[in-house]
């Protein structure tokens, strides 16, 4: 070796006794979630649309359709009817999938795979961060509704359950973009996963109650899980504690979750086993 070392440069560093060890599932989960959450305010431009779009639709829909709705549904508030729709708009498709695909492309994901971290934590940690984000995005939407005079019949506990259901839906839906990110490693493919949002969000009771939908839309809405989620969310605001609506809403979320999370974790397994 002839590379030079400046005088005094060489440091006598004793070999440290610190040794690597498996951190354990929850610590790994927290590490992944911490990084994801830390990056959100540094990538704020990616979050702003998720906040602006639902507020925009809420204001526009309420402004343009309130009278027509309240004429055909006497005694019902269109603002209360629309708050769950705005929430669905806010939380559906919000995920760290684009960050994940960047990690895959620039090699950071490989760096994680060369550590002893729990493999499931690599994905679940991102979903924990997503859950925190969708709850944070839901709060201003709910606050706007309350400011505009929407009354939540189930009270504060109902608001908490409302946010939890919305958060669960948001996390459940992230399975699709994560599956695409892990399967393809392509930013374009991940961006196109937004298309999935439209049938879920519009072929349902977004603007009219189920009994006023007609023809094919009524049929599609009947099979759309978001219909049952909206019914559960609306029941908390407009009806009261309706166990049937809540169980159906929860079951719809879990059913979609079973599909999306299976796809996501299969894709994770495929990428981890790529070697």
């Amino acid at each position: 070796m002839t590379a030079t070392t400046a005088p005094g440069d060489a440091l006598e560093v004793p070999r440290s006794t610190v040794r690597a060890r498996p951190g354990g599932f929850f610590r790994d989960l927290a590490s992944v979630a911490t990084r994801a959450l830390k990056l959100i305010p540094r990538d704020i431009e990616g979050v702003i649309p998720a906040l602006v779009v639902p507020l925009f639709f809420f204001v526009v829909n309420v402004g343009s359709l309130s009278k027509a709705f309240e004429f055909s549904n006497p005694g019902q508030s269109f603002k209360a009817f629309q708050i769950p729709v705005a929430i669905i708009f806010a939380v559906t498709g919000v995920s760290r999938a684009s960050t994940l695909v960047t990690d895959i492309q620039d090699g950071y994901f490989d760096r994680l795979l060369m550590t002893p971290m729990n493999r499931m934590a690599l994905l679940l940690g991102l979903m924990v961060a997503d859950f925190a984000l969708v709850i944070a995005l839901s709060i201003p939407v709910v606050a706007l509704g309350l400011l505009l005079g929407v009354h939540v019949t189930t009270g504060p506990l109902g608001v908490v359950l409302f946010l939890l259901l919305a958060g669960m839906w948001g996390v459940v839906f992230t399975g699709f973009p994560y599956a695409i990110a892990l399967k393809t490693g392509s930013p374009a493919a991940v961006n196109s996963s937004f298309i999935l949002f439209f049938p879920f969000a519009f072929l349902t009771t977004s603007f009219l109650p189920a009994d006023q939908l007609q023809g094919w839309l009524a049929t599609v809405a009947m099979y759309n899980p978001v219909t049952y989620l909206l019914a559960a969310l609306r029941s908390l605001i407009m009806v009261g504690w309706d166990a049937t609506a809540l169980w159906q809403g929860l079951a719809a979320v879990l059913a979609v979750g079973a599909v999306s999370q299976t796809l996501a974790f299969r894709a994770l397994r495929g990428r981890v086993r790529k070697g």
């Binding site: 070796m1 610190v18 040794r19 951190g23 590490s31 990056l39 550590t115 002893p116």
Partner: protein, 322 residues
């Protein structure tokens, strides 16, 4: 850790029908710097990724720090540090945040991370930029932070995949200094891949030369070069190179002649004493000599001897750091 840090036996790795690593046998004792030298696409990175558990061997076996890469991958991961060819750093995190996260990924507690960060930053100079986002770092700083991240958990074996590709000469020498220091002061085993002859020559205790997935030569840089001869005469000629080879092959002291294009690489025992007879022989065989050079052998000559080609570092990655 056992006395052997890295060992492979008939290690193969295929991608479909393509055999990227074609049956490699190596044994690296603890505390050695092993340089893996070869051109782009020779199989260096594939071998490193296999040893680092990113890729599974197609056949054969490999152990790192005494653990099998296929069946004891978690144990292997606990004992290795890796800096791959492209420094994978999140540009939106600061250097300190990256090192802290990396420590957490290896199960270190907060006080251990702080302690290790002091240790690695004493070895790898990042300066005050440690608190800046890595998106602002130069190529050299990114490489050094990547090296620091690979060291945060105090690994036994460090894998560096082309650690200086794309760096300017000054940054390259700084990375060399840091690698040497890690080996000298901590006794760390270092497996280093490179396409740069000088890097392997300067840093490695032993060099393995890989071409088309096969290990074609192995030994200390000096021993490998001695195989070529004491000196090398390079002759570029216009005319029949086969005729030129025949003309110089019979000269006393000539140990071997390799042809590549219009160039003859003539291994000789005594360069000063042989260059004149070589010039005379070439002149008398009907070829026109346009260049005649005497020098000591390099690892490129070793590569040429074994493969019939020169190592061509990737031109696009040469010194592109700003």
């Amino acid at each position: 850790m056992t006395g052997v840090a890295v060992e492979t036996r008939g290690l193969k790795r295929n991608f479909g029908d393509f055999e990227a690593v074609a049956g490699v046998d190596i044994s690296i004792p603890t505390g050695e710097i092993y340089g893996f030298l070869g051109p782009n696409g020779a199989g260096k990175s594939t071998l490193v990724k296999t040893l680092c558990t990113l890729l599974r061997p197609s056949s054969g076996s490999a152990t790192v720090a005494g653990f099998d890469v296929a069946t004891q991958s978690t144990q292997v991961r606990l004992h290795i540090g890796v800096a791959l060819q492209d420094a994978a750093l999140d540009p939106k995190l600061t250097g300190r945040e990256i090192l802290t996260l990396q420590g957490r990924y290896y199960g270190l507690h907060r006080h251990e991370i702080v302690s290790r960060m002091d240790d690695v930053l004493a070895l790898v100079d990042i300066g005050e930029a440690i608190d800046n986002r890595t998106g602002t770092y130069s190529g050299g700083m990114r490489r050094r932070l990547d090296l620091a991240a690979a060291l945060i958990h105090n690994p036994d074996v460090l894998f560096l995949d082309e650690p200086t590709t794309g760096l300017d000469p000054v940054s390259r020498i700084r990375v060399w200094e840091e690698v040497r220091r890690l080996n000298d002061e901590l006794g760390m085993t270092i497996f280093l891949t490179t396409q740069y002859l000088e890097e392997a020559d300067q840093l490695a205790d032993r060099v393995g030369i890989i071409n088309a997935g096969k290990l074609v030569a192995e030994g200390t840089p000096e021993a490998l070069k001695r195989q070529i001869g004491s000196d090398v005469v390079i002759a570029r000629v216009v005319g029949d190179v086969e005729l030129a080879r025949d003309a110089v092959s019979g000269i006393e002291g000539v140990e071997g002649v390799t042809i590549r294009g219009d160039e003859l690489t003539i291994s000789v025992a005594d360069g000063a004493g042989t260059i004149s007879p070589v010039a005379v022989a070439l002149n008398g065989c009907g070829v026109r000599v346009i260049d005649l050079t005497l020098r000591t052998p390099t690892l490129d000559d070793v590569f040429l001897e074994h493969t019939g080609a020169h190592i061509q570092p990737d031109a696009t990655s040469e010194g592109d750091e700003s």
